[in-house]
């Protein structure tokens, strides 16, 4: 009952929170002293990047590790990893696009050879590579196993992206929300809007993941049904 209710509420709650983020970000929060209205991108870009790098890629990696572990091995884990990676590709592209929109007026270029930008683009190629690898293998077990190993190998890039702003002093700014001493850098309505945006985009990820998972599950069921029908037809041909 509770599960059904939460599943039904996930979509509407996500839409409400996204609309709230949009309203607060566009009209309620003040412009920044230095960046002016450009600061409004802070309510979109970090939240999208959070989902792209940590939530979706993290989900895909954990599901892949659980698939490889014999005790938890099941096609459910493989499907979750696949669907999370697909959503991750969308969010990585959005991260790069929103970052470029911010970069053009701030840095003067759409793209810079910055450590964080480059490593995020590499992660995007890896995520696309994961999907290409899945398409290259027809055997479901082999496909699941190989893509799980590849997802784990690709996840090595996530900490590199996270610490890139500390390891290499390039264009991309360091921590936006907290300082190194865990002191909050954003206050008041700006902090609340940022928090709501993180929750909204995280819920959006789970909503998309759920929808994509159901689609994949239906596709697998249709494939099995088609196979069973063809086997049945061959058996009947044999009986005649």
């Amino acid at each position: 009952m509770m599960k059904q209710l939460s599943q039904r509420l996930l979509g509407p709650v996500t839409l409400v929170l996204l609309a709230l983020t949009f309203w607060l970000g566009m009209w309620v929060t003040p412009p920044d002293k230095v960046q002016g209205d450009l600061v409004r991108l802070v309510y979109v870009h970090p939240a999208i990047a959070w989902v792209a790098l940590y939530v979706s890629f993290g989900t895909a990696t954990i599901a892949s590790a659980l698939y490889l572990w014999k005790r938890t091995r099941s096609m459910v884990m493989d499907r979750v990893a696949h669907c999370a990676m697909e959503v991750s590709v969308v969010f990585i592209i959005l991260t790069l696009i929103t970052g470029s929109i911010w970069g053009r007026p701030t840095w003067g270029v759409w793209w810079a050879w910055d450590a964080r930008l480059t490593s995020t683009a590499i992660l995007g190629v890896l995520a696309v590579g994961y999907l290409a690898l899945r398409r290259a293998n027809d055997d479901p077990t082999l496909r699941a196993r190989r893509s799980a190993v590849f997802a784990i190998l690709s996840a090595i890039n996530v900490p590199i992206i996270h610490f890139s702003v500390l390891w290499w002093k390039t264009l991309h700014q360091g921590a936006t929300v907290f300082t190194a001493n865990r002191t909050l850098l954003i206050h008041g309505i700006m902090a609340w809007t940022l928090l709501i945006s993180f929750v909204a985009f995280t819920l959006l990820f789970f909503w998309l993941l759920r929808a994509r998972y159901r689609l994949e599950e239906s596709r697998d069921r249709a494939r099995s049904a088609a196979l069973a029908t063809s086997l049945d037809m061959r058996r009947r041909e044999g009986a005649i």
Binding site: I122, L133, A136, R145, I152, L153, S154
Partner: protein
């Protein structure tokens, strides 16, 4: 595990010595690619050694991709994989053996291409010799990563075209640190921080390969 690794490496190297694909196909391709890189830069810029390390690693990358495909193609003939599986060999040993054989092939290619860079791109000989140990470690890490990614793509549809898509992002940090350490050797700069990245990558790929190669070979 070490004994199996040694046997697998000897088997791969023996096949290579008999087929001479490295000698007659891959090395001429590498030499041609190096010459073309010089031509792309133009005669004025090609003579300046600042571009040498980058071009050297770019050409080495192409050569490595060919060799990884070749290393996997050895087992692609029908029934070979099944025969190896029935032997019950330790997958970690197989991984280490294939990595060692590929590393030796890449080291040979690397030394030849380095001579080419000294001759064609006028890279300073003293700097090239200083950079040699870091080049060998970088190529070793590329061999470990290549064996792992090669196994991921082997037998799949369009394996030859899929391999660069999966491997190039993994090679990116190795290429960057390899190129930087080569440049540092040429300009008498600090080498150690780039060494750390390459050595960590080598150890990480060897560790992951030893742990997960068996999963990829399971049938």
């Amino acid at each position: 595990m070490i004994r199996i690794a040694w046997l697998v490496a000897l088997k791969d190297l023996r096949i290579e010595a008999r087929s001479r694909v490295l000698l007659w196909q891959v090395l001429p391709f590498g030499a041609m690619a190096l010459l073309l890189s010089g031509l792309a830069l133009g005669p004025t810029h090609a003579g300046h050694s600042s571009a040498g390390p980058g071009l050297f690693y770019l050409v080495t990358l192409f050569v490595a991709l060919l060799m990884i495909n070749r290393s996997q193609a050895i087992e692609r003939t029908p029934g070979t994989r099944a025969s190896i599986a029935t032997l019950g060999l330790d997958p970690a040993g197989v991984f280490l053996g294939k990595t060692l054989a590929l590393a030796i092939e890449l080291w040979v290619s690397g030394v030849v291409l380095l001579c080419g860079a000294v001759l064609v791109l006028h890279t300073a000989l003293h700097g090239a010799l200083l950079a040699l140990p870091s080049i060998l470690v970088t190529l070793g890490a590329m061999a470990a990563a290549g064996t792992l990614y090669g196994a991921l793509t082997s037998g799949g549809e369009g394996a030859a075209t899929l391999l660069p898509v999966l491997t190039l992002p993994a090679f990116a940090p190795l290429l960057i640190s390899g190129e930087r350490s080569f440049s540092a050797a040429l300009n008498h700069g600090a080498l150690w921080q780039w060494w750390v990245i390459v050595v960590v990558a080598l150890v990480a790929y060897l560790g992951v390969g030893i742990l997960l190669y068996g999963v990829l070979e399971e049938s």
